[in-house]
């Protein structure tokens, strides 16, 4: 069976980066590549949910962290899986200086533009990953 890519955002609640990562993941799954990308609840890894564990172990895993704390990456690695790729939302802000999110959950127009840019970048990274799949 062909591998999928499980994309896991950190969903941090203290900064706008968490919501931006989350929304970008949904854009990729719903709009850009509904067939070969999925997500799962990061917190399920901590309760040793067998379905979630099996999902990440048998597929590619890509994390989208808000900042350098890299919580999603660390959480996945704690669960015993080495990630196949990672992005940090803060890097997108560095590349798009004129755009700033408005609030932590209500991102505003500029924040949504950043989400779209991040989703495109994530899509490109996943392209690269899927090319490795025979």
């Amino acid at each position: 069976m062909k591998k999928k890519v499980v994309v896991i955002p950190c969903s941090g609640i203290g900064k706008a980066f968490g919501e931006m990562g989350r929304q970008a993941v949904y854009e990729v799954i719903d709009d850009l590549r509904p067939g070969d990308v999925t997500t799962t609840c990061l917190a399920r890894l901590m309760v040793d949910d067998p379905e979630t564990k099996a999902l990440i172990m048998r597929n590619f895993v890509f994390t989208v962290d808000g900042c350098a704390k890299d919580c999603a990456r660390k959480n996945v690695e704690f669960a015993g899986k080495k990630i196949d790729g990672a992005l940090r939302v803060i890097e997108i802000l560095k590349e798009n200086r004129a755009l700033k999110p408005q609030g932590i959950l209500e991102l505003g127009e500029d924040g949504l533009k950043l989400v779209h840019i991040l989703a495109q970048k994530l899509n490109n990274e996943i392209d690269g990953l899927m090319r490795k799949e025979p």
């Binding site: 968490g18 989350r22 949904y26 917190a43 901590m46 704390k69 660390k74 959950l105």
Partner: protein, 138 residues
């Protein structure tokens, strides 16, 4: 020299579950409590940061009372908090609360609209009442 500017606050720990709309609801409800309903009485604990080992998040949850807010019966936030810091004072499960209240679960995990505000408000109100009970203001 370590000092503490002590004021008892309640830590709210949403599960943030990415895979279901109840997870998205936990985020909006918790931020509503933090930003609007009980801004001086609550702190939000970022669950992924908490799991990753951040000392600030873990020490707060060990020292002060917490309320976990889970989307579903897997209770990831509650189980994790118990494992890493201690039993929360209250554990809210959004799917159960909305069922009890006769409120429909929002259809989308990606966006919550104005129509979903009733669900957000119900969960936020429940959390706020529990905050008041913990702080002896209920």
């Amino acid at each position: 020299m370590l000092q503490e500017l002590k004021q008892v606050k309640v830590g709210i720990i949403p599960c943030n579950g990415e895979d279901l709309c109840e997870g998205t609801l936990t985020r909006f409800a918790c931020r509503k409590v933090l930003d609007t309903l009980r801004p001086h009485e609550t702190v939000t604990i970022c669950l992924p940061l908490f799991i990753a080992g951040d000392a600030g998040e873990r020490n707060f949850a060990k020292t002060f009372p917490t309320i976990t807010v889970d989307g579903c019966a897997k209770r990831c936030s509650q189980v994790t908090t118990e494992k890493l810091s201690g039993k929360p004072r209250y554990a809210v499960v959004v799917s159960e609360l909305l069922k009890e209240s006769g409120i429909e679960i929002p259809p989308s995990k990606r966006t919550l609209t104005e129509k979903d505000q009733t669900a957000i408000d119900r969960v936020a109100e429940d959390i706020a009442v529990k905050v008041d009970e913990i702080l002896g203001k209920g």
